[in-house]
Point group: C2
Chain length 267, copies 2
Amino acid sequence: MKNKEELWVLKVGGKVLEDEMALATFLDQLATSGKRFILVHGGGKHASALAEKLGIPQQMVDGRRITDEATLELALMSYAGLLNKKVVAQLQGRGINAVGLSGADGNTVPAMKRPVGDIDYGWVGDPIPGEVNKLFLLTLLHGNLSPVFCALTHDKMGHMLNTNADTMAQTLAIAMSHHYRVKLLYLFEKKGVLRDLDREDSLIPLIRRTDIQALSDTGVISEGMLPKLQNAAKAVEAGVEAVLIGAASQLPHILSDEAESATHVID
Amino acid sequence: MKNKEELWVLKVGGKVLEDEMALATFLDQLATSGKRFILVHGGGKHASALAEKLGIPQQMVDGRRITDEATLELALMSYAGLLNKKVVAQLQGRGINAVGLSGADGNTVPAMKRPVGDIDYGWVGDPIPGEVNKLFLLTLLHGNLSPVFCALTHDKMGHMLNTNADTMAQTLAIAMSHHYRVKLLYLFEKKGVLRDLDREDSLIPLIRRTDIQALSDTGVISEGMLPKLQNAAKAVEAGVEAVLIGAASQLPHILSDEAESATHVID
């Protein structure tokens, strides 16, 4: 196990992508880190702004976008088109041989359209973990290419599906964990999981998978953080070495494994 | 030379892409042909429609789109996003392991921003033929992946560039011609190069590269066709086995090398 190479799977949210300066800094730091990586990006805000300009009404349920045909087209334009190619070109400009992908490209991440229950999410899909095209991803990584994923998948029957970016990153991290020592990094605005949301110095540096339920029950971790931690728990249980939750602004410190630079979730 | 494998580089225009039925038929025929291929697609009409909806004025000079920043964003959304992923997902649905790419992805097609002369085309680029990332393309093709290119490239300095789709296809065809017997197929509305534009039965089945100038001088070929033929001439001169110019509706006949199914341009 020790001689497996390290691989970082980073998920970055829309806020960094939409701020030109923040994006440039983030990509500079990533490019100069020398780390082998897969990048997964979100990008909800650009799609929302485009929806407004085009007069396409958007419906959110529990923070999830109901994806009708017109909204799927927005997602394709925004995530797979504008944002993905912007990131790829900028990484190329920094000497990183990036290749932009959706889960349909190379059949990398096949998904299942979410069944209609109380809510019909429309063209939303959940990755089928066992079906990730590992061979293709390994071929890219061995060829020193850096995959850059938008959070879109496909149903293998001709239709694209909108997918949660955290889940996309987790799926890719788990799939690669047999071949690499994978660190999955969720970047957001806060420094990590905080005991007190208003105090950055209240960082919880280490959380064991088995502690998550207790931390939730005792109210130490906020309701908004729970899905991310559950996601993280699943990843480390399935073989990912560690899941890190931290701030994009701390990237160099996180990538060089500095203490207290983010919250580490381990098995 | 004889034992090189055959590779088709097909360029399909916007009209087929925007007609759901025509696209489905085209992809059915391509998927069942069993041919190894690289597909290059245009898509100007969707971008134009989007420009109108978003109130972004479009300026065309000699049929070429002046590409300011807003127009480049339209191209990214439309070509690299919506159209590219639609085609990839539909090919996947037909059992073809397609991977959608721009020239920035994997640094496949680096380009040079067109110098500002009498006209400033903006973010428009012309591919640098010697710099195509052949190794990456060969890796994909050997892995039974089918690259699907939109006509966008990059300047290797962080910026995407709008590129002519015919030129993109020609560049890829030439780059692959050392490794495959490449047939470059330009699909459009007519059956091929016609002596009389109104009569499909006036097809010129074979044109030698060295005949093009005379055909142009004597007015046999129309002004609109000349750039395509010059493009074709350059391709066959550089090692592409044949350039075929024909109608998307004739695809099965063309792919099975039926006589009079398209115009063949050879060296």
